[in-house]
Amino acid sequence: MNFIKRGFLGITRKKGKSLILLAVIFILGNLISGAFSIQQATGNVEKNIKERLGAAATVELDQEELNALSEADWEGVEIENIGVDLIKQIGELSYVKYYDYSMSTNLGSESIESYQGEGMEDQVVMTGPSMDYRLKGINYAPVIDFEEQKGKLVDGRVFTQEEVDNGTSVAIISKKLAEKNNLQVGDTFTLTNAVYTYDDKTGEEELANSRDVVLEVIGLFEPQSIKEDQGESSDGGMFDWMDIEYQNTVYVPNEIIVSETKFNMEEYMKADAEFAAAMEGEEQTFEYYTPMFVLNNPEDSAAFEEEVTPLLPEFYTVINASDQYDSIAGPMKSMSNLSKYVLIAAVIATLLITGLVVLLFLRDRKRELGIYLSLGERRSRVVGQILIEVMVVAVIGITLSLFSGNLLAGQVSDTMMKADSNTSDEGIIYYSEIQQTNLTTEDVLDSYEVNLNSSYILGFYGIGLLTMLISTVIPLIYIVRLNPKKILM
């Protein structure tokens, strides 16, 4: 009849009290379990979505800061360019896995046809000069977009560093663009760098000059992430501009774009005397690079931003791919906040209510506890006996509420998300250079799932049992202060 056996007998011989305690723990356990389930699920969504958004970062002008400037503030404002040296300095930071800096421009062509989507060719009516092909400059020869699975090289090869450094006329194009124009690796194709002037009076554009840009196809790629997203998308075969833009992207060394930009600018100045006069005396540069840094881990984003921000010129800011999460995860965040407060409240309520219930039961058993002490039982073992009685019931109550609380959380969060998504903006697609995917609020809600996984089970048992332990230990001070003489004589 040691204290462990006495503890178990205490549960079975006082069924009424054990059931009351079980009911209290079960009800409070449901609150904790429900709130914890939602916390876990929202936490997982944030982690998953941020992983899908990727670990990329770039440095851009801070539009919010610029918009906040008054007209007076704008006077004398000089915005510096992000130079290659600074990009390289940032790229050498330990958080950065690899980096690139890119210029881009759009060119047209008279010899090849652009990709316009599956079976949609006849429906697209283009007006004005065609600038269908987006030339994306590369400094990182293996191409970051391929390394980050935005696209996949399916034929040929990537650039060599020599080609990048020398600005060799080589290109990687999409497989669909190649198929449409019967191009293969090793073939050449011609793009046109056309310079147009705009007549204010007639509102018409006039060709001032043009030159051919002949490029050799060294590789073919297929889009990856956009293709996947289309497959998952509920709107099926809807026309997808982002896909078309990427299918018509032509990867080339940066030097080619610098050269074409320079040609375009110089020819434009020749054709437009007014513009040339305005530009006279200005320092002319044709290199405007957009840097892209791929970090080792999405979790490094904050540290990277903290370290890079002081290095940047005025009005520049760090944009992380994972920043997009904040703009699309409204319902998720409100649910996460609410569940956090419910969890805290539930833990405090459990501490108080269970503590009081245990204290009342202990007072009721004062004589029994006094008998153990009069027989010379160690107070620690009397405490142990009560702990066993409460914790065994707690394990049962918490195990039951583990499942029911999880179900409850599923129901509650479904209702909350439906209510929240009805009031949030629908159909907005967020996309930028550094983001590898076109995620929407709907994607965030779709990836929300309340389920029973090992981390939830362990976490809930940890929180539940620790709360019960504390709420039992506090009233047990009562036992330590018991005087058997006063109780029994």
Binding site: R6, R13, E368, S374
Partner: protein
């Protein structure tokens, strides 16, 4: 001499005055004898018993068990291994059966107890007149006399030499009272225990080997 109290003082502080319950009380007890401490209500006899059983401690003076101060032994350890206490209101655990009540101190004591504790417990209960069928009943299903027998069996369960009883027959009728006193006498005379009973009954005092009278905190021999 198994138990000795020396110069025990126990008092309550009432403002600047001390209200003595026991004053310079000294007494000693031997094995194999049945003692009674007689006194009216409020005479301090229960306080004396609580000091002898280490349920309380005196402001001054010592209690020695086998010539060792019980404070040095440790009050809890002394209660666990050296003394069996019987209360007027039995103080059994109501959710346990009679035999389970006897088993409790066996699991607490550090004294050597035969391995088959359940058999020992049944035998002890049988020795004091509780058969197997009653031994398996919850104690609140037993009569007052039977409950006090269970309490005596519990006090004996740890194989101690010293039994202290506080008004053990206070809630029993005369017939039952005599049966209990006979058990105490048997324990003292046949089993070499030292049995000390606190009572207000002259009849019980007259049956003891030695009786003390406690009046206003002062102990004297009862003739």
């Amino acid at each position: 001499m198994i138990l000795e109290a020396k110069d025990l003082n126990y008092y309550y502080q009432d403002g600047e005055q001390r209200r003595y319950i026991l004053k310079d009380t000294s007494v000693s007890f031997e094995k194999g004898k049945f003692y009674t401490i007689l006194g009216q209500s409020g005479s301090g006899k229960t306080t004396l018993l609580s000091l002898l059983s280490a349920l309380d401690s005196p402001q001054s003076g010592t209690v020695s068990f086998n010539e060792e101060d019980i404070k040095k032994i440790g009050y809890e350890k002394y209660r666990r291994n050296n003394v069996g206490i019987i209360f007027q209101s039995y103080n059994l655990i109501p959710t346990f059966t009679a035999v389970e009540n006897v088993l409790v101190p066996m699991s607490i004591t550090e004294n050597e107890i035969p391995e088959d504790t359940k058999t020992v417990a049944y035998n002890l209960l049988d020795f004091i007149g509780i058969g197997k069928s009653k031994a398996d009943r919850f104690v609140n299903k037993l009569s007052g006399g039977e409950q006090q027998r269970v309490a005596i069996a519990r006090a004996l369960a740890t194989n101690v030499e010293l039994i202290l009883a506080d008004e053990p027959t206070g809630n029993l009728d005369e017939e039952m009272e005599q049966e209990i006193i006979d058990i105490f006498k048997k324990l003292a005379h046949e089993h070499e225990k030292c049995v000390i009973v606190v009572t207000h009954s002259n009849e019980i005092a007259l049956q003891s080997d030695q009786a003390f009278h406690l009046r206003k905190g002062v102990l004297s021999s009862y003739e």
